[in-house]
Symmetry: C2
Subunit: 197 residues, 2 copies
Amino acid sequence: MPRTTDGDGTPVPQRLLAAATRLFAEQGYDRTSVQEIVEAAGVTKGALYHYFGSKDDLLHEVYARVLRVQQERLDAFAGADAPVEKRLRDAAADVVVTTIDNLDDASIFFRSMHHLSPEKNKQVRAERRRYHERFRALIEEGQREGVFSTATPADLVVDYHFGSVHHLSTWYRPDGELSPQDLADHLADLLLRALRP
Amino acid sequence: MPRTTDGDGTPVPQRLLAAATRLFAEQGYDRTSVQEIVEAAGVTKGALYHYFGSKDDLLHEVYARVLRVQQERLDAFAGADAPVEKRLRDAAADVVVTTIDNLDDASIFFRSMHHLSPEKNKQVRAERRRYHERFRALIEEGQREGVFSTATPADLVVDYHFGSVHHLSTWYRPDGELSPQDLADHLADLLLRALRP
DNA sequence: TCACACATACCGACCGGTTAGTCTGTCCCG
DNA sequence: CGGGACAGACTAACCGGTCGGTATGTGTGA
């Protein structure tokens, strides 16, 4: 039997990624030592450097995974067959729900991006931009149709909305009385209300 | 002549604080060494530890300064003699302008808060809450008067707005075509539009 | 079917370098 | 001449990453 899955059923690379995600979110990238990560995953440094090129590489993998998932979901909502108000509302609410579902990823995202090497940072920013642009296109579509106000430039509206989404990890408490879906509905509502002509 | 001001006219503690602020914002708290700070301020470690108890202490001072300034400004705007819509709009726009004026402080704030020791973190959160509550009271006042919609709970609206304000340091580029005041007007407008009954 | 060759997965000691913080001493002002 | 304001050498603790080594599995040719 290959060691890759021993002890626990999940393969070692995934276990390392999961441990790193949790620890990065809890203590920050710089404050998490490679030693801590491998201990949490039940392996040693040899295993980590067998699968990943560097600690930085590990962080990059976390980002790549999140970005991939979010882009896929946005594309699905934005490309649906429905009026633009509904598509925007659904997309805006969905990003809130999935962000809450992965609050660890979110806090890593907005706190640790500058720890990535310049080239990887550039790569992440490029993917991030693609995401924003898809969202912006949705708003511009509604503005052309006349269902959204043109008082504010679309890209500003996008940054306004995502600013608060990114900050969810700072103030949202899962044990509060507001369910993720309720919160998502409220935030999407705020966006749509701000866009009323 | 006391050494306290030599070389440059500004006192050593302030020079240390200014250097630390810039470096923390540029590279993050953990990636900035005490050695770098003292070199940038033109002194040595002896001076730093003469005035500050620890590196953590230095970060806390940065926070304290920002919070004090922002609270004062908010109190002034919120307590003015004007209809609540105008007071909220002015306060919402002002926080954007002053945040842009001190983008370094802002990026430290939202990236490095978790580096503070638990007790200092608690202290900062408490002051932060006071600030949010003053802002929320303004919204609730308008809701009672019937000039703001009650569709969304006031504290959610506050978090929505400040989420994007905190994220200004991520995406706002001072060399862009949008002046700080223009941007502030747009963001305040988005808030007020979302609150229309 | 057995033996040999090789690859993969992982261990853990180790290294060069960095860091926050300390401590002793010096200088200068009142 | 006493004490505040620093200088700067020093230390003890880590940290990311490397590397030689081992155990297990897999493919292949006779």
